[in-house]
């Protein structure tokens, strides 16, 4: 092993849900290391536990067993508030259905993580506008999500994830609801961001072409990595 701990190290990660009396074992012990700056594709059939894995990686949920170490530190040892800070500072999420806040404009949506971190309004606005420029939406700042196309919405969601320059980008089928051409654009953008900003990215995808184009592919099946 190298002297410095890997960026992410996952040890025996397991997640079991209790549905009534039935135990549903979604993840059955996953061991994995992800280095800084990697761009990982995660594929697998529906119900294989991809989303659950991503949620655990982003600390949106707590594992039943196992550990997730960032830079050698177990994140789940932290308290809830520390976890919230961790998500705010380190992780950026892109969800399949963009999950933008419908009452706010694109700019305000992108500002939100910065506002949660108590960045001053003007500074948050500046930064959000910059990131929106990065994803090519400089002319859509004051549009609400409902007034944007699917591809644009997903790019706003991406901009929101990137607003605070996270070290880890987690994307859960970001192009699942998009037509192939638009999806291609998003993929190119993801690749570019990974290359240019050095953000570690884990992308869950059904898109075989995207997966094939990425240097590292993982396949989840029945709660285990294949």
């Amino acid at each position: 092993m190298a002297s410095a701990p890997p960026f992410i190290r996952i040890e025996g990660l397991g997640k079991t849900y209790l549905m009534g009396d039935r135990r549903l074992e979604v993840l059955r012990g996953i061991d994995l290391e992800i280095a800084r700056g990697e761009f990982v594709a995660l594929t697998g059939p529906s119900g294989a536990g991809k989303s659950t894995f991503l949620h655990l990686l982003g600390t949106l949920d707590l594992p039943t067993r196992g550990r997730v170490l960032f830079d050698g530190e177990d994140v789940f040892e932290r308290g809830e508030e520390e976890l919230a800070d961790f998500r705010n500072a380190t992780v950026g999420f892109v969800f399949q259905s963009h999950h933008l806040l419908p009452e706010f404009t694109a700019l305000e949506n992108v500002m939100m993580p910065a506002l949660i971190r108590r960045v001053a309004r003007a500074e948050a606005r500046r930064r959000a506008a910059e990131v929106l420029g990065l994803v090519g939406l400089s002319d859509r700042l004051d549009h609400r999500p409902g007034e944007l196309s699917g591809g644009e919405q997903q790019r706003v969601a991406l901009a929101r994830a990137l607003c605070l320059e996270p070290r880890l980008l987690l994307a859960d089928e970001p192009t699942g609801n998009l037509d192939p051409a638009t999806a291609e654009g998003i993929h190119a953008l993801l690749g570019e961001l990974n290359a240019r900003l050095g953000i570690t990215a884990v992308v869950v995808t059904h898109n075989e072409r995207l997966a094939a184009s990425l240097p590292r592919r993982l396949r989840l099946s029945r709660g285990r990595l294949e």
Binding site: L60, G79, E80, R87, L115, R118, R160
Partner: protein
């Protein structure tokens, strides 16, 4: 019912019994019975440290109130109302501060701790009542409560504990919102931003709602009906012509929000108007009482004769704060005229100075007060005697008496008519003391507006009274008028001090009419509590609205949490929403209440003066009272937000994201 949000996980080393299990090793296999998240230490359910602090706050707050009141009233010499208010504020602040410290130390909402402290308080109250004789001697505050009966004692103590617990809860939750993240973060910037977007309140909606509440709902609802009909017609026409028509729809949560605002507004409205009317009655009563009786009295102890009243009067007038002083002689007598007989209080007054103390000269309706001194000028009755005795031959020489309007009506006498005054303490006859009777003539009739006085009081000149009762040159005491009515107590105290105490003592009007004003005060408190229930019910509207909002915004909450919003942060969003609803409703209610009071005051609602002895519905607009109502409404609204807010904050991000 209010749940504890997840506080700091496993960081609570100071917790006592019932605290967290030690952080479980994450490698250990999970117990199968646990749901997601099993294997991780849950935050403690109960923090002993916080419990001790909030209990101190609860008991301390209740104990501090009477102590502070004594301090403010007696040491600082503040008027009673101000002292009570300040004492309440001090007690509230004390409880809230200790609650805040508890929340800060344990980093939790302390709901269970406060509930436990309240139970402990109830047990203590039960103990106090059961063993009351033992406790009674110790506390003046307890004695005054006990004097009003056990029920009042129990309710009073429980109520005080409840208020103190509420104060502690407000303090604890506010502190948790501010420091729950582990650092001091009172900022509300984005929370307000999100809260406003949830409520969707704009100026137009609020103005319409205000109009709806002002018009008493009925005309407003009619207007709404007409408007929706017009809209339907337009929509149908547009449909026939094949045009596009977009119909604005009101989201359900906005409707709920508006209903909650209206509920709070109605409660605050009712509370302010009723309390203002009661204050009006009280002020009217006070004015009439103070018009007819003095602000204070100087009396002697026991049977001591008060003969040196002339020199004492000079000394009293020199005391700062005293505006006037007049001697009086007080006796209870019977008055008769023809077949009519009634008991009365007969006061001998100094006609020259009585006007400097009471309003008697200004309340004279018929006749003249001066005729007491010059009875020869009293005109003879113009009419034949129907009921009244015919004027005796030597009638012109009879001394004068002034009676109240109701008394004159009962005796069926007019100015100039003859009245017999009968005193039970007369000369000694063969069979012991004989009642003494002497005819007087009615010199004047007064109307004070207070039935009690108009039907019971009669006045003689001081000299005439001294002669009638054969007291020599003594008086019962001196009546005083002070510059500031509310400071009467301290001025009278100073007068007694200047006179060197014994044999003199002072009494102020509050003491003279204590039972009446404390009954009024009690009535007002009960009324405030009953009407406060309207606000309480309105707070349930807020609670329901917020629960609905939380359910509607589950996904949004999850997204905010995924972006790093912490528990206090999410709570703040919903607390703010509730506070906005409460504040808008309270503002509406205050405006409406103020408007109604001004309207009642200016236009006047006539009352039957025969029944109420007052011609118009009295209103007194007291700013402090309005402020108190507003504060109470806001506190209730705030407390109502805590449950939905914790519910929102406890949502797991995954739950919101999964439900699609």
């Amino acid at each position: 019912m209010i749940g504890r949000p997840e506080g700091e996980r496993g960081g609570d080393e100071g917790a006592g019994p019932g605290s967290a299990p030690p952080p479980a090793s994450t490698d250990a296999p999970p117990p199968a019975s646990r749901d997601e998240g099993a294997g991780h230490p849950a935050p403690p359910v109960f923090s002993l440290r916080a419990f001790v602090l909030v209990t101190l706050g609860l008991f301390g707050g209740v104990a501090a109130a009477p102590v502070a009141e004594i301090f403010f009233a007696d040491r600082l010499g503040l008027p009673d109302a101000a002292a009570t208010g300040l004492a309440a504020v001090a007690a509230f602040v004390l409880s809230a501060l200790l609650g805040a410290v508890a929340a800060w130390a344990a980093r939790r909402l302390c709901f269970y701790e406060i509930a436990a402290a309240s139970l402990l308080w109830s047990a203590a109250v039960a103990g106090t009542v059961a063993f009351l004789p033992g406790m009674r001697a110790g506390s003046a505050a307890l004695q005054s409560l006990e004097a009003q009966g056990t029920l009042v004692l129990v309710l009073g103590l429980l109520g005080a504990g409840f208020l103190s617990a509420t104060a502690g809860f407000v303090g604890a939750t506010l502190a948790y919102l501010a420091v729950g993240t582990g650092r001091f973060d009172p900022s509300l910037s984005y929370e307000l931003f999100v809260a406003r977007s949830h409520l969707k309140l704009d100026a137009r909606t609020l103005v319409s709602l205000f109009g709806l509440v002002v018009t008493g709902l009925l005309p407003g609802l009619l207007a709404l009906l007409v408007w929706s009909h017009v809209r339907d017609v337009r929509e149908r026409r547009a449909y026939r012509r094949g045009e596009l028509y977009r119909r604005a729809r009101m989201p359900a949560t906005l409707l709920m929000t508006l209903i909650s605002i209206a509920g709070v507004a109605l409660g605050v409205w009712a509370l302010t108007v009723v309390l203002s009317v009661m204050s009006g009655f009280e002020a009217d009563l006070k004015r009439k009482i103070l018009g007819q009786t003095a602000h204070g009295m100087v009396l002697t102890y026991g049977q001591d004769d008060f003969t040196e009243w002339r020199s004492v009067r000079e000394r009293v007038l020199a005391v700062p704060g005293v505006a006037g002083a007049t001697p009086f002689l007080y006796n209870e007598v019977m008055l008769s005229s023809g077949q009519n007989l009634t008991g009365a209080i007969l006061k001998g007054v100094d006609t020259a100075t009585v006007g400097t103390v009471i309003d008697l000269p200004r309340n004279i309706e018929e006749g003249k007060l001066e005729w007491l001194e010059r009875p020869a000028e009293i005109p003879l009755p113009a009419r034949g005697a129907d009921g009244a005795e015919p004027p005796a031959p030597g009638a012109r020489a009879l001394p004068g008496v002034v009676v109240g309007r109701e008394l004159a009506r009962q005796l069926r006498v007019f100015v100039g008519d003859q009245v017999n005054v009968v005193s039970p303490f007369g000369d000694l006859g063969p069979a012991g003391p004989q009642p003494k009777s002497r005819p007087f003539r009615v010199a004047a009739i007064f109307f004070s507006g207070m039935f009690e006085y108009d039907s019971k009081f009669a006045y003689l000149s001081l000299a005439e009274a001294q002669r009638f009762f054969a007291t020599g040159d003594t008086v019962t005491g001196l009546e005083l008028k002070v510059d500031d009515v509310d400071a009467a107590r301290s001025v009278v105290g100073r007068v007694a001090f200047e006179l060197g105490g014994w044999p003199f003592r002072g009494k102020d009007w509050g003491e003279l009419n204590r039972s009446l004003f404390s009954a009024l005060q009690m009535e007002k408190v009960v009324m405030a509590v009953i009407l406060g229930f309207i606000v309480l019910v309105a707070s349930f509207l807020i609670l329901a609205t917020l629960v609905m909002l939380v359910l509607e915004k589950t996904r949004e909450i999850a997204v905010l949490k995924s972006m790093g919003a912490g528990v206090p942060s999410v709570m703040k969003v919903f607390v703010l929403e509730g506070l906005i609803i409460g504040a808008v409703g309270t503002a509406f209610g205050l405006i409406l209440g103020l408007g109604s009071c001004v309207l009642v005051d200016k236009v006047g609602i006539p009352l039957d003066p025969e029944v109420y002895y007052i011609s118009n519905l009295p209103v007194l607009i007291e700013p402090a009272q309005f402020a108190l109502v507003a504060l109470a409404a806001m506190v209730i609204a705030y407390v109502a937000t805590i449950y939905p807010a914790t519910k929102a904050a406890r949502l797991r991000p995954v739950d919101g994201l999964r439900s699609e």
